[in-house]
């Protein structure tokens, strides 16, 4: 693990601890929920960074494969096929993602390249790091 990743992880842990301290004294449940959401986001960042640091990403990449748009279309989350979606050239597995009930999300179906849809709703959010990467879109 290089030093800067280690420092970033330590910073994130310190920030998480700060959130936990704030949750103890949160004046109401709404503030508390907001802090819990922020804590959740921090933990995802830590998870992502530690995955990077320990080379998990490299291991995962060995199992990855290249998919064309036509091949991706088969992974629609129906009848035994997993649910995959592509964003910015990377293919993610959303089969068991809570926001993808019945392999659909706000009218969007799995098995598609959703780069522009993702950008219009979730641009700037670090939520993709939570998803399992299965390959690249070619």
């Amino acid at each position: 693990m290089n030093n800067s990743t280690y420092q970033t992880i330590r910073t994130k842990v310190a920030e998480s601890q700060n959130y936990i301290n704030l949750i103890y004294v949160a004046p109401c449940i709404y503030t508390r929920n907001m802090l819990l959401n922020q804590l959740k986001a921090k933990m995802n960042e830590i998870d992502f960074l530690s995955g990077l640091a320990f080379g998990k990403m490299n291991q995962m990449q060995q199992n990855q494969r290249d998919l064309t748009l036509a091949e991706l279309a088969k992974f629609n989350g129906k009848d035994g096929n997993p649910a995959y979606v592509a964003v910015n050239g990377t293919v993610y597995d959303v089969t068991n993602n809570a926001a993808w009930a019945a392999a659909s999300h706000f009218g969007l179906m799995a098995g598609k390249d959703l780069t522009s849809e993702f950008a219009s709703c979730h641009g700037g959010q670090s939520i993709l790091s939570k998803l399992k990467v299965v390959g690249k879109l070619v």
């Binding site: 929920n33 035994g80 019945a102």
Partner: protein, 299 residues
């Protein structure tokens, strides 16, 4: 949750509307709070929200119209009809009033697809009425899916070209999505307006009092989701995620508040959440039920 150990937060949540209401009731009795005019405008919808409101318990509807507010106009419930009713509606302009709106705004042919009445011989379209009354109200509260984001009225193919109330008004509109809106969400918001003014809103103008957590966050079946135990058909008591439950994307408190005066709610009655309180309902929440979703994937 064990019934022996009542969680204080659970009970506090159930009483958000009644706590606010009892404060209103006290202040009105003491004469420290003045009644405000309330206008209930129905545009392009199904009257579902006013019917839902009649089921309210905190306060009940009778108290709302007689003690808490001066209930000026509602086309479904008022005694006056025809031009006399429209006179009453128009007489409010120039006074201080809170405007509650249900139903979307039909915009096709300059709003001619929905005429809510005739005044001085001229047809008054929903579009004209909301523009006229919306800009001058002290607060505008849009209730239900149609008023907040177009909802069912704006579902494909949307022949009347319906849009949300916000789309035609250049001002803050408090939004209470839901199909229909729970009486507590409206009455709690109204009580808050009377007591303290506008409640704290999220980035999409929904009161945090009611719209701060996802159904999924407080779902009694959440542990089944976390363990990956999914119902295969309706009637099973496990997580309905694979059948298409929209609880994970729907931000509202049904899982703790429940419906019909706090008796039950869809998931406890073995029906998946269809996301009726989320923006984009119904088109973006479909399919409501699916049976061929992939469950286990063989690696």
């Amino acid at each position: 949750m064990s019934m022996k150990h009542n969680c204080p937060e659970y009970s506090a949540r159930l009483h958000t509307a009644s706590d606010l209401f009892s404060k209103v009731k006290n202040e009105i009795r003491n004469g420290t709070l003045a009644k405000k005019n309330l206008v209930w405008l129905e545009l392009t919808g199904c009257s579902g929200n006013i019917i839902s409101l009649l089921d309210g318990a905190n306060p009940d509807f009778k108290y709302l119209i007689s003690q808490m507010t001066e209930f000026v106009y509602d086309n479904s419930l008022m005694v006056a009809e025809g031009e006399a009713a429209m006179d009453k509606l128009m007489s409010i302009i120039g006074n201080d009033y809170i405007l509650a709106v249900e139903g979307a705004v039909a915009t096709k042919n300059n709003g001619l697809y929905n005429i809510i009445g005739r005044w001085k011989g001229e047809p008054v379209t929903a579009l004209k009425a909301i523009k006229m009354l919306g800009e001058k109200a002290s607060h505008v509260v849009a209730l239900g899916a149609c008023a907040t984001h177009g909802g069912v009225s704006a579902a494909k193919p949307n022949p009347a070209e319906c849009v949300s109330v916000q789309s035609v008004l250049n001002r803050k509109v408090i939004k209470l999505p839901g199909c229909p809106c729970h009486p507590d969400w409206f009455l709690g918001t109204l009580a808050h307006i009377l007591l303290y003014g506008e409640p704290e809103l999220d980035s999409r103008d929904r009161p945090l009092l009611f719209y701060s957590t996802l159904i999924h966050d407080r779902c009694p079946r959440r542990s089944f989701f976390d363990k990956g135990i999914f119902a295969k058909k309706l009637g099973e008591s496990t997580c309905m995620f694979k059948l298409g439950c929209r609880g994970p994307v729907t931000r509202i408190d049904c899982s703790t508040r429940k419906w019909n005066q706090y008796v039950n709610w869809p998931i406890e009655d073995d029906t998946p959440c269809i996301g009726c309180a989320q923006f984009g309902f119904p088109d973006q929440m479909e399919p409501f039920i699916t049976y061929n979703t992939t469950r286990g994937v063989k690696e």
